[in-house]
Symmetry: C2
Subunit: 427 residues, 2 copies
């Protein structure tokens, strides 16, 4: 256990896994710690929240991925702090683990801009539990509307509000609208689910600001075709169990989803180093923490600038590139070679889907939209999944959805007690 | 909404669905009420609990099954009582629903023989949430053992006790042993999962009492080959977070699963009619409640005797036969024909699997065991699933498990708070 250079990696997301993958064969032993037992393919999490995919199709037990790497030890645990002087990290059970090199890849969570009380009524989408919570609330809203006798309350139950119009918000709104308008109408007898309202709220001037104006405009028109109401330029000023206040207008809405902001995990405060407003550690262009060259921070936990001064976006390809960069740096140091220069982010393109027939892709010079973009998006995502089983399972679920127009995972699950809590919140 | 004979069916299990299916084309309108939004294929639930299958592979939204039957209204709700004089049932929201014919198919839950406090430490297996709870606890036990530094506590974490050796207990024990001894060893660095103990406890003299002694003996030998310790003739006298008392011997064991007894849902007390010791309503041989010919009780909620005096077993084929019988009775009454004589249960055979290579089948005269029985079992269960998608998905999951020796759904999910509760229970 004690021989060799010890790399401790905290976080089994895209950045952490890329790092461990790329350290294969290096003269290190690795301890990979995550508070979940699974790596999650977050770009498709919205499809779990909207009943298209099952949880197990986009998540893999981390330790299984490294079963053939005896130098990799996987631990399920919550890291509570780091001591960069003693070179240890501490786990919630009280254990400490010593490192020679530490890589913090702990990701981000939702930010409610100082209104953490909104979290209970407007869940975000970061974990499998978040996804099954949103799935449960969306499905329960239709179920309760079918039972509801008060027309005003029925309308509120059939109003779904998604706050934030980045790719996740757009993707959630598109599929919820498709469910309401195309999939569910035949199954309800007392309500007409086609009368459901899906409202996508964006504080900024347009949806999908990371895309060109043309693609953003196309996405807005496609959303409207699906029946989504797009409200731009209007910030949300309050969220409650009864609904949402947009600007100064109250919209009765029983189901809210938060897709608006993120807050980095507290890696910067563990290290005692400066952070930006979103809590991301301000690291050097070699991704090390200031004053601690043996500590790296990568992915959504790190704030890094591109050559043009723009921040590196918080997306999977960026985290993977950083993981690969840190692996090269560690190898160079161990072998006494010079470090591989500053980290340079290479943007490979932006993708978003609108419902199950249209997508937009922005490769910079090349911009695509429509059905072709949707197929490219689908093939790319299947390619990036881990393992034959998942690729096959997701491809099958999508094919089935495409051919039958139905979704595979329309399950309301979770503890009875939580259901009761949800009811109490709403009533 | 108000015209025609109104059949209210409470419970979307095997009995309730068979009834609704068989009433297709009859001059009735039907309201089907369940407190879950999904029908669950309970015979495979143990495979969700043991990471072989995903939740969505064995559960289907009930209302989707009847999308093409406009006379069927599906409601998600908890029935809290029935008034057989007024001919109404009441829902937890306060609504009442009037019926002309009522069919109670509300199933059963676990029975702890007067020790309901054991439920928190020894969950049973009846719902999807039960299955994900057991899955979470089994997987977390290995994870915590990998972190544990105290050897005694580590041994307790690696001891899994299944209480009750009917088919569910045998099936759970077999797969947990396979996981510990064949699937997980390569993935842990600090513990040897092959040292895990899987203990199957049965108060009666032998496992699988519904099968012949020969098949029961074969199953016991196969379990031992998989590494399961079988303790028969010893009742469990206490369960706690620290372990289980079997007879007067304490076995330190952090993961307990209850597969020992069932208690019927309270349909009999709603109706004010006699019940047996397990709470099952004592119905006539036409499955009606005494004094209420328009009220039927079927499935695990009903106590019915066979011609030879033995009780009809609480298994899916029995519930389906009762649902079909009630549908014939309702049709005969509506058409003024004589009722179809007393209900006769036809036993089609008993099946159980031991791990992923062996099974036993008892058709009465024909008895099968081993690999052939396993294949028959698998094909039969795929046949009984609902819909092409599920059949394909389960067949693919099994094929993948068979070829790769890996399981598809090794996810620890559920709310953080529940995880914390589970930890507190154990510590």
């Amino acid at each position: 256990m004690s021989e060799g250079h010890h790399v401790v990696v905290v976080g089994g997301g895209f950045g952490g896994l890329q790092l461990v993958n790329d350290l294969k064969g290096a003269a290190v032993r690795i301890t990979l710690i995550d508070r979940r037992n699974h790596h999650l393919f977050q770009p498709l999490l919205y499809q779990v929240a909207t009943t298209v995919l099952a949880t197990s199709e986009i998540a893999w037990p981390i330790r299984h991925l490294y079963r053939d790497r005896p130098e990799v030890t996987t631990l399920l645990g919550e890291v509570t702090g780091a001591d960069p002087i003693a070179r240890t990290i501490s786990l919630d059970g009280g254990q400490t683990i010593a490192y020679d090199t530490l890589v913090l890849a702990t990701g981000a969570t939702h930010a409610y801009f100082g209104h953490d009380e909104w979290a209970a009524v407007a869940p975000g989408l970061k974990t499998l539990e978040d996804a099954t919570t949103i799935r449960r609330r969306v499905l329960l809203a239709f179920e309760r509307a079918e039972l509801e006798q008060d027309p005003e309350r029925r309308d509120a139950l059939l109003t779904f509000t998604i706050i934030g119009a980045g790719p996740t918000g757009v993707e959630l709104a598109g599929i919820i609208a498709e469910m309401a308008h195309r999939i569910l109408p035949a199954e309800f007898r007392r309500i007409d689910t086609r009368r459901a309202r899906v409202v996508l709220v964006e504080a900024g001037p347009r949806i999908l600001p990371a895309f060109s104006e043309e693609l953003s405009g196309y996405a807005g028109r496609e959303l409207k075709k699906l029946g989504v109401e797009v409200w731009t330029g209007t910030p949300v000023t309050d969220c409650s169990a009864a609904g949402v206040v947009i600007g100064d207008r109250f919209l009765p809405s029983c189901t809210l989803v938060w897709a608006a902001g993120v807050q980095a995990s507290p890696a910067a405060s563990w290290l005692g180093i400066p952070a930006d407003r979103a809590g991301r550690a301000l690291v050097g262009d070699d991704l090390t923490a200031p004053g601690h060259p043996e500590v790296f921070v990568i992915g959504d936990t790190a704030s890094v600038s591109q050559a043009d001064g723009k921040p590196v976006p918080g997306i999977a390809p960026a985290a993977k590139q950083q993981g690969a960069f840190v692996a090269r740096t560690i190898r160079a140091r161990l072998e006494g070679r010079p470090a591989p220069g500053p980290f340079r982010y290479r943007h490979q393109g932006s993708l978003a889907t609108i419902g199950r027939r249209a997508a937009i892709i922005d490769f910079g010079r090349i911009k695509l939209k429509g059905a072709l973009a949707w197929w490219i998006w689908g093939v790319a995502h299947i390619y990036f999944l881990i393992g034959t089983r998942s690729r096959f399972a997701v491809a099958w679920s999508w094919l089935w959805t495409f051919l039958s127009g139905q979704h595979s995972a329309r399950l309301i699950t979770q503890k009875e007690t939580e259901d009761v809590e949800a009811v109490e919140l709403r009533d």
